[in-house]
Subunit: 342 residues, 2 copies
Amino acid sequence: MSDRLETTIHDIAKKLNISASTVSRALKNNPVISEATRKLINKTAEEMGYRPNTLAANFRTKRTNTIGVIVPLIHRHFFSSVISGIEEVAYKKGFTVTISQSNDLLEKESKIAQTLFANRVDGVIISIAMETTNFDHLQLFPAKNIPIVFFDRVVDEIDAHKIVVDDFGGAYRATRHLAEMGSKRIAHIGGPMNLNIYKNRQAGYLKALADSGLPTDEMLVINNNLTREQGIEAVQKLLNLPEKPDAIFCANDTTAQSVIFHLIKTGYKVPDDIAVVGFSNEPFSEMVTPSISTVRQPGFLIGIKSADLLIEQILNKQKEIEFQTIVMPTDLIIRESSARQK
Amino acid sequence: MSDRLETTIHDIAKKLNISASTVSRALKNNPVISEATRKLINKTAEEMGYRPNTLAANFRTKRTNTIGVIVPLIHRHFFSSVISGIEEVAYKKGFTVTISQSNDLLEKESKIAQTLFANRVDGVIISIAMETTNFDHLQLFPAKNIPIVFFDRVVDEIDAHKIVVDDFGGAYRATRHLAEMGSKRIAHIGGPMNLNIYKNRQAGYLKALADSGLPTDEMLVINNNLTREQGIEAVQKLLNLPEKPDAIFCANDTTAQSVIFHLIKTGYKVPDDIAVVGFSNEPFSEMVTPSISTVRQPGFLIGIKSADLLIEQILNKQKEIEFQTIVMPTDLIIRESSARQK
DNA sequence: TTGTATGCGTTATCAC
DNA sequence: GTGATAACGCATACAA
């Protein structure tokens, strides 16, 4: 309840018999102020327990030094790694990070966007929800000249910097690797086709099949939302085929894990009968038995890069920029779930 | 660059030949305004593309509808679960959540606190860094009547709501369980004693030993920071004892996992030679082989409860409240790493 | 039920 | 190098 006692620049000014503008300038290290007065002001401010009112400054300058981050699920390791990267850069450059999760729901994502906008964030970093196919709620930002950076699940329809991982290449190498292990019928459990990342992973898979001289078979490709449950459903379907697969490339590790779990439970040997590769390199992937071969995505680096690009735009708002799509490298990690003894 | 075009309540007022205050009231659904004018104003606002300037409102009301969250590491599953819970409640009640991670460093935690304070968050939810033994940076909030809620790693020195898990009980049951499995020399790898959670886990361990009629042995208790590396160091030390332990209760799952890894690598059978129990129920714990017995903490619920308590305080600032420490239940999950065939 | 007047704390513009 | 003043957009005490 000691709100009345909040010291302002006017209090400091009065005490020193100078003007508030001088105090303001001094506290902002404006070079126009003489060394002597600046020191005096800083000292007095300290003594009086002055704390700048960021709210007032934000209001005045129309800037908040805040960047909004929207991710589908905070506790997904990939996303929390990206957030860590963002947070690291933002913290160093004096920005605050506001984080929200869409829970992969369009409606929530949209409401979050409204809120961030209303709170006048200086910029937005987002990986869109699985559900999101309409982007009106995101047009808000470009329309008002608020920079936005997309990562991972990006949107073609909006012109902006985009950071993606080499999904195609990762999937390609994963599938080639399965072929090199002697697999002839390689199945794919992929994600929803409205998301580029899954489209690209699927394309990499198909290209690898072609380059390996293996035929493609529609029956061997299943698309769903890549949950644990759907992974099990999918593998059951695959096992019911007249010609069963001898390898499965899953578009994420969660699915790979549930697939392996089900295969072992039903008596298959992994990787001997059926080899499995996942995608994302979740922390559990190297700890489980068999450990899961997977494709590593540099989450932390993506966060750093996204924040760098965003903050650069925030600080140079007038400058016209060439938007770029940066493809971060992925690499295949071969573990037990696919390493057959030849 | 379309900043000039931002519609304000004054624009609406002018257009309708009414006063800005009426517009302000109408938009806030102030019941004093007549149904007719309210409708008219809302309609006009919509037509003119009015977007309330939250910055101005915040400045005016000295409230931001923002709650600050400080956790040691965002990507720790327990913490991201708590964050999810907080986010869920906050979102429903119209609050924005600002998240920062201290990386378990006092200095960063302190700077974050300053920033949150400067940004005038309405309240703070925090689990303190491992390093934190001095709390001056947190006194800031109670001093200015900004509510703060502690969870998990709480602070005795500050009067506030606290949500903890039943560390004592969880540790007690874990250790009793090891004793019931026939273990006679149960070791403990615990965390730093400046954190209550680890003090309580250790106390639970000691009480369980006593209640099981087992002697305590100082050599069997090792305290460190519970990283993977330190876990391995610790277990090496234990294995070098003249009388080796036949069970180890670890204060987190990361340590448990590294301990098991090392035990198996050096030829011990888990749980037969040495049984292991962890703490926290990380997602990997049920996936690894052997799966890890552990103590579950209700992270999501803790988040919900913390946010509920905080927001209640924010909304009833005048009310004098009785601070409470809420103990959330833990439960022991018995898995392969401790389940001996008797 | 509506209008008038004022101020929140800071920064920017202009003057000196 | 410093000062005076206005303005940002909104909410509220008070008046009508």
